[in-house]
């Protein structure tokens, strides 16, 4: 199984090797898609876990016991890219860096792997090109 989660953790957790433990103790393959970790402040990670259901369940339990807030990403955003006029109205609302402007050709660059499915772009796009679906 493959699943994405947002992990929020308290300042004192920032120094703990959480992802290392998940890999070593629970045999879960981890892709860190995005991380905002500043020492002394709350940390936030967007990760993808690849393992069998059982391992992921145990890994999540471990995280919760460590007081990490785990938010599963159940939704997925999709974009009708061919209709985009590259206005840029979706970019400044995107918290994850999934929507950026290529400053050479001034075209929108959408990186779905970074998306945290917050849905803000869906409201911001004047052409209504985003759709929020449940992930498989």
């Amino acid at each position: 199984m493959k699943a994405k989660f947002i992990l929020n953790f308290k300042p004192d957790m920032v120094d703990k090797p959480l992802t290392y433990l998940l890999i070593k103790e629970y045999d879960i393959k981890i892709n860190i898609l995005r991380g905002i970790i500043t020492p002394g402040k709350e940390g936030r990670l967007l990760i993808e876990m690849i393992a069998d259901d059982d391992a992921i369940e145990k890994g999540l339990e471990f995280l919760r016991n460590e007081n990490v807030e785990v938010i599963p990403l159940q939704k997925k955003i999709s974009l009708r890219e061919d209709e985009c006029v590259h206005c840029g109205a979706c970019i400044s609302v995107c918290p994850s860096g999934a929507l950026e402007m290529n400053r050479e050709n001034w075209m929108l660059v959408f990186t779905p792997e970074q998306c945290v499915a917050c849905g803000l772009c869906k409201s911001a796009c004047p052409l209504r090109l985003f759709k929020l679906d449940f992930a498989e």
Partner: protein, 385 residues
């Protein structure tokens, strides 16, 4: 000193040896060889912009049914159009909402028409001796009606303030969604590609100037509404606030949906993306210098749309705004735009192509745009809110 005249430029367009560059290309040349070289070698520079322009709409003439009708109320796909003109004329405004659908309005009717789609027309009338009919329902399209021309009272704003929001909740504006606590900034012009920023004194733009409009040729019909020429300017003659505007006109039947696109701004309303490009003849060195303006020299205020009176939080240039991040109050904020640089560039290239291929000649303005104008506010009656 004059380097060339309109008729000399047009002769060169006819002969096919005109030197035409886009506003982006000319800046590269100026940086390499200087403005004098630009003045000497370049005949025409093309600009472009593609942004949401609310003050847009179209006049349509539907033709008469038999017996004829003097339409009093008109709806197009359930969007009210203004029929308080002659019998079967109406004006469909871009921002008018459908009476039935949430995210459909006048801009969508215009886009549907230019896309060749069928549109439902409903008209009601009081009936007169000469126009006895009191109602008509019909299906129209762009070819079935007589005239259809875009007539936009205010387009191509010369500069615009950038927007952010300091309050604790998201606000929904025509500058897009502004997140709480200064979390994003939106700006809206194509900067160094923008028509009225490349000729800030409007020496070559006036009534009758032929332009690119909605994918075909159009004209400057008048100064736009809220035309303001006395804003404070920076060292590069650039007004630091929304200043001049253009009223534009063109044949809707020739336009295409790539350059006229309906837009929906959440909890604000409907607008229309309009593609506009203005060719600037390099008559002399002053104009050559003006078209070579860089984003770093075009400045605007960042306004707090959350606070009353929209106070300025500082002055930023378009190089900073277009970089994707600016610093406000020591905090890095993500910037985004409302108008498309990609499309603006496409428009400047298309117009360049038309000029180079002899398909588009330049027109000298019939009359210049006004000077020394400013804006008046509106005073509500005493005792009213």
């Amino acid at each position: 000193m004059t380097n060339r005249t309109y008729s000399e430029i047009n002769q060169r367009i006819e002969k096919g040896d005109v030197v035409v560059l886009t506003a982006e290309e000319v800046k590269v040349l100026a940086e390499k060889d200087g403005v004098e070289t630009v003045a000497k070698e370049v005949d025409v520079v093309t600009t472009g912009t593609f942004g949401p322009m609310c003050s847009s709409g179209a006049f349509l003439n539907f033709g008469h049914p038999s017996p004829p009708i003097k339409m009093g109320k008109v709806w197009l796909n359930n969007v009210p159009a203004y029929a308080g003109v002659a019998a079967v004329d109406a004006y469909i405004g871009a921002t008018e909402h459908s009476e039935i659908e949430d995210e459909y309005g006048g801009a969508h009717v215009i886009e549907d028409l230019v896309s060749g789609k069928k549109v439902d027309l409903k008209a009601r009338a009081r009936g007169t001796d000469c126009y006895p009919r009191r109602q008509v329902d019909a299906t129209i399209d762009i070819d079935s009606i007589n005239e259809a021309f875009l007539f936009n009272p205010r387009n191509a704003y010369q500069n615009y303030a950038a927007a952010t929001n300091s309050t604790a909740k998201t606000i929904f504006t025509y500058m897009g969604m502004l997140l709480p606590n200064l979390s994003n900034v939106n700006y809206s012009t194509s900067g160094e590609l923008s028509p009225l920023l490349c000729d800030p004194k409007m020496r070559t733009i006036g009534l009758g100037t032929k332009i690119f409009l909605g994918g075909t040729q159009g004209f400057v019909a008048w100064n736009g509404t809220q035309f303001h020429t006395t804003r404070p300017t920076n060292d590069h003659d650039i007004p630091m606030a929304p200043a001049a505007t253009l009223a534009l006109i063109g044949d809707l039947k020739q336009m295409c949906p790539e350059y006229l696109k309906a837009a929906v701004y959440e909890r604000y309303g409907i607008s229309l993306f309009v593609g506009v490009g203005v060719p600037i003849p390099i008559l002399d060195e002053e104009i050559a210098k003006a078209v070579c303006i860089r984003d770093s020299q075009i400045e605007t205020h960042l306004q707090d749309y959350g606070a009353e009176g929209r106070p300025s939080l500082g002055v930023y240039n378009y190089e900073q705004l277009k970089s994707g991040r600016i610093e406000v109050d020591g905090k890095e904020i993500t910037t985004g735009s409302m108008s498309s640089m990609y499309k603006a560039r496409e428009i400047s290239n298309k117009l360049k192509d038309w000029v180079a291929k002899g398909m588009f000649k330049l027109t000298e303005p019939v009359q210049g745009l006004p000077s020394n104008t400013s804006l008046q506010g509106l005073k509500p009656k005493e005792g009213t809110q």
